[in-house]
Symmetry: C2
Subunit: 257 residues, 2 copies
């Protein structure tokens, strides 16, 4: 079995390279395509970053599988047995294109279904949030402590547009009850918000690559990560996920049940 510590150091290098690539190409010309509809973008830089990351992961961990957003990973992964790397080459592609800000690169390693390594790179602010199960969470070299366990009426909450405009009445009530509502357009940036205590909760429909790294970091800090109905998460599916402090999680249960 490959040494996790060595994989950790190499993965940090890989994600920083991918972030640097995105930063260098951001102001150049690149192609933007739509996927499911006009709000769902992908660029040649997403694809290039994913190929760069996956190629390096194959080198450092050849026996692993790779689950990645833009289709250059392994197809038809139905189990988390062994090493599975989960890759989001640019999270918040819309912000990358429109704002040149508020986007992330995300990476996680799950071993036999358990989150072991997690990385969220806030590219513009040059901050790598990284963690290893049982060893804590860091931003660059500085250790993060667990955010204060505040309740919903003392906490800012992030959600995405669909939930706020068209979500269940209960979800909209959560948005109304929080001390404030925020919307940044990147799961990575919103996960960073929760793990640093800038947000008390993040609620969103998340695909595996949106969720894998943030879940690892949040759980390592003792935060709650679960399905909005209180159930556990299946990292291989799309889930309506709540990431929150314990108290916000309890307050939300009061509203949703």
């Amino acid at each position: 079995m490959t040494d996790i510590n060595s994989l950790d150091l190499q993965a940090q290098e890989i994600i920083r390279q991918a972030a640097q690539n995105a930063l260098e190409k951001m102001d150049a010309r690149y192609q933007v395509d739509t996927k499911t509809n006009y709000t769902d973008l992908v660029t040649t830089i997403d694809r290039e970053n994913e190929q760069l990351i996956n190629k390096r992961l194959r080198e450092i961990d050849p026996a692993s599988k790779i689950l990645s957003e833009e289709g250059f990973g392994d197809k038809g992964i139905r189990s988390l047995a062994g090493h599975v790397w989960i890759v989001d080459p640019i999270d918040g592609t819309m912000n990358f294109v429109k704002q040149h800000n508020n986007f992330a690169v995300m990476l996680a390693l799950y071993v036999d279904g358990q989150p072991v390594l997690g990385y969220i790179m806030d590219v513009i602010n040059h901050r790598l949030y990284h963690g290893r199960a049982g060893h804590g969470v860091f931003v660059n070299d500085q250790r993060l402590s667990t955010p204060r366990d505040l309740g919903l009426q003392e906490s800012l909450v992030a959600m995405n547009r669909g939930l706020v405009l068209n979500g269940d009445e209960a979800i909209r009530k959560v948005a109304q009850t929080a001390i404030g509502l925020r919307m940044y357009g990147s799961a990575g940036i919103e996960m960073i918000g929760v793990i640093t205590g800038q947000l008390g909760a993040y609620i969103s429909h998340l695909k595996p690559w949106d969720l894998a790294a943030g879940r690892m970091l949040a759980e390592e800090l003792g935060l709650i990560v679960k399905s909005i109905d209180g159930g556990s998460i299946n990292v291989l599916s799309s889930n309506l996920v709540l990431v929150a402090t314990s108290q916000v999680s309890r307050d939300i249960r009061q509203i949703i049940n």
Copy 2:
């Protein structure tokens, strides 16, 4: 009449001092009070910053009036005759308290009702957005150009919680039609979004101190600033304001009328 160029240079110094004060006090203990309800905060740093700014404005422009958020300015201002300074000592107080990020200091000079000088300081990023009527808009020393005139379906739009959760159906349709919706919790940060082209529009209920500086900067760049129903703005009242590119403004009119 005091020389506008000299006032401009001194006002830049004043707003940078106030920003520095907020930055230094941010991690210290300070008192937080609520105003109209639990989501409407004010801190001793807001008050201290306002007193600091107003005192210096009285020194550099003694004949002027001052309209400021926390009550240390002139009372009962009903006209914009002469010089009127409009002051927001911390815009996004909730973010200041909860996030230590995403807040601004704002300042504007109106002369006989016309916007002449405008300043929005993004405190955490050390970026002062400033402009003078007829002389352009700058971020620190770098001149800003007019954002691309994109339409609603190509633009990110920022609104506040009340409009998205409980606004008119037409406003909610605007939020749904935009390429994406964002919510940062600070009029200053959202105005910066529009003047830099990171957002195509910002729609919010704005008080004089939320609006005065951003309106000056946006109009100087050729952007649209008006009441959401298409009418002109009264800077002395609370308005439901649209700040947008020309094309987004036209697209929104199609939805709202």
